[in-house]
């Protein structure tokens, strides 16, 4: 319990950011027309690929002789970047079609 309180105390600014970010997320998506639900979901999905940043950090911190860690990190980067590149590209492709109004 003490450790939890200690954690909260030392990470207070983190908690503020966390809670405010939750509200921003809710506000941003509220009242979006159903037409855009699919591209929006796909676009948000691309954003969750930000986990790639963590994968890169893990790799940079890896011991070059720890092959298991390197291999897992490698896969983590590949999966993360597929999420990012694929996510943004597919969203763009979808939205491209909306633009072709005549």
């Amino acid at each position: 319990m003490n450790e939890l309180l200690e954690f909260i105390k030392s990470n207070l600014d983190l908690l503020y950011i966390l809670i405010l970010a939750i509200f921003i997320g809710v506000e941003l998506i509220k009242n979006v027309p159903t037409v855009l639900h699919t591209p929006l979901m796909s676009g948000a999905n691309a954003l969750s690929g930000v986990v790639i940043v963590g994968a890169i950090i893990v790799m940079l911190q890896s011991d070059p002789n720890n092959y298991l860690s390197l291999a897992l990190g490698f896969v983590a980067v590949v999966l993360g970047i597929i999420n990012v590149v694929g996510g943004f590209a597919v969203t763009d492709r979808m939205l491209q079609m909306f633009k072709k109004k005549k």
Partner: protein
């Protein structure tokens, strides 16, 4: 972390917020996606080259760029991984058919979860064999375990969702699956708590936790019916965001934290919006296992029945040719048959002949909300001809002919008048108010949700059997001859 990198992360975070905001409006959506994409690229490049490390050189504490201390081989590996993943991601995104979009989004989402779980695994293994003083605190261990559990659930859950939408996997319902799933989930949490409390660094325990989480992800999605899959994908998407945010806490990395949480909360709101469009509660989606044709659906079959009226392409063409107002109700069957272009041709032809043609778009037409709009936009159908449900419903009484192509559940009157139906209460397109209804279907098989549709037995309804593409092509050529 260098100040330059901090600033880059700050900029990226802002691009995420702005991008997400712009994605919510049709005119700005494309630009918004581009803006957050640019932010993401900045963050990745910054993470690669702008990190710093505190080292002691000649007894003086100094901050040097991290890349000076990292062996070249690691950079080569990272760049190789990025190149490989980018090619795969790009290839998948460019090759996918628009009808297969929901599956792909689900798959991408699973990859993000997989990435988070691997990061958790590596971080935990760093802790193995470390003396107590330097060991990670239990709050760090909690974060690591949460990343592993949530990452695993999204990985297998998304793959199951992908396989189901693909048609390569059927619903799997163990007896008492809700009970089993809930017990397994509680066991997962308890096991995680045990690892934290025991302060163990046993990798075996972590692998058990990992495998149990993977199994839970599978069992969680396996019983959920196909019709509810969009909601599940959106929910899993939200979970991936949370997994990313948790790994962000691990590294004190703000862009991961904020980006992940934005996706987490936005995804959750989107999940609720989708539930609302289908008139389902999240609880009944997750625990109800609807969509495979339950008892209620079977009960309806007996009640409906009756005579159906068949029609031919030439009769249908005549009827539409002499109408003033025609409304087309497209469903997923249209997309499966790749008939979007033919229906656009039909629409143009009728318009040329002076008929007023519109499309009625149900919020969940297709496989995801808004999916049908994407599919029709691909076929160059003009945006302003797509009318949303609430706007088109009052117009049906003035509509001469409704042409229903490959849609079923979204026009099923059982949603209004059969309390025993699983879709009872779902908002539908009130096509039965129109003067005539032509339904194109391949056969009398019930729709995706597995529910019989009494609309087909309505006096005003004529059935035009056949594959959507060939039936519509025939309709078009009949019209051309008139």
């Amino acid at each position: 972390m260098s100040i330059a990198l901090s600033i880059i992360y700050l900029i990226t975070t802002v691009t995420f917020v702005i991008g997400l905001k712009m994605l919510g409006h049709p005119e700005t959506a494309k630009k918004g996606n581009l803006i957050s994409g640019t932010g993401m690229v900045l963050a990745i490049i910054g993470t690669l080259f702008l990190q710093t490390k505190d080292v002691v050189i000649d007894g003086i504490a100094q901050t040097v760029p991290l890349y000076q201390t990292v062996p070249l081989i690691i950079y080569i590996l990272i760049i190789a991984a990025i190149t490989l993943g980018s090619i795969i991601g790009w290839f998948l995104a460019m090759k996918v058919k628009m009808t297969k979009m929901p599956e792909l989004v689900s798959l991408f989402n699973g990859f993000g979860g997989g990435s988070a779980l691997l990061i958790g695994l590596i971080e935990f293994s760093k802790n193995v064999g470390i003396d107590d003083v330097n060991k990670a605190s239990s709050s760090i261990v909690i974060t690591i375990l949460a990343a592993i559990i949530i990452g695993s659930i999204t990985l297998t859950g998304s793959i199951v969702a992908w396989a189901k939408l693909n048609g390569s996997m059927n619903d799997l319902r163990l007896p008492n699956y809700n009970l089993i799933n809930n017990i397994l989930f509680l066991a997962l949490v308890a096991f995680g708590a045990y690892i934290v409390v025991m302060n163990t660094d046993s990798l075996v325990l972590i692998y058990i936790l990992l495998i149990a989480s993977l199994i839970y992800g599978y069992l969680f999605v396996a019983p959920i019916g196909g019709a509810d899959m969009p909601v599940v994908i959106s929910l899993l998407n939200s979970l991936t965001g949370i997994a990313a945010a948790i790994t962000g806490i691990l590294y004190g990395n703000m862009v991961m934290l904020v980006g992940g949480i934005l996706v987490g909360s936005a995804g959750l709101i989107l999940t609720f919006a989708m539930c609302k469009a289908m008139n389902r509660s999240l609880g009944s989606v997750v625990f109800g296992a609807f969509g495979g044709g339950g008892d209620a659906a079977m009960a309806t079959v007996g009640k409906t029945g009756g005579n159906i009226k068949k029609t031919s392409a030439s009769d249908a063409a005549v009827m539409m040719n002499y109408s003033t107002n025609v409304v087309i109700v497209p469903g997923y069957g249209l997309a499966v048959a790749q008939a979007q272009h033919v229906i656009h041709e039909l629409e143009e032809l009728l318009t040329k002949k002076g008929v007023n043609v519109k499309y009625a778009i149900h919020p969940v037409a297709g496989r995801m909300p808004g999916h049908m709009n994407v599919l029709l936009a691909e076929a160059n159908v003009s945006y302003d001809k797509l009318i949303e449900m609430d706007d088109i419903n009052p117009q049906f009484p003035n509509t001469d002919v409704v042409l229903v192509v490959g849609a079923n559940d979204v026009v099923n009157p059982a949603a209004h008048n059969d309390p025993s139906s699983p879709i009872y209460g779902m908002p539908i397109l009130d096509v039965e108010n129109a003067k005539h209804i032509i339904v194109n279907k391949r056969s009398m098989n019930p729709g995706y949700a597995g529910i019989e549709n009494e609309l087909f037995f309505n006096q005003k309804t004529s059935m035009l059997f056949g594959d959507a593409k060939s039936a519509l092509t025939e309709l078009v050529s009949e019209l051309k001859n008139m």
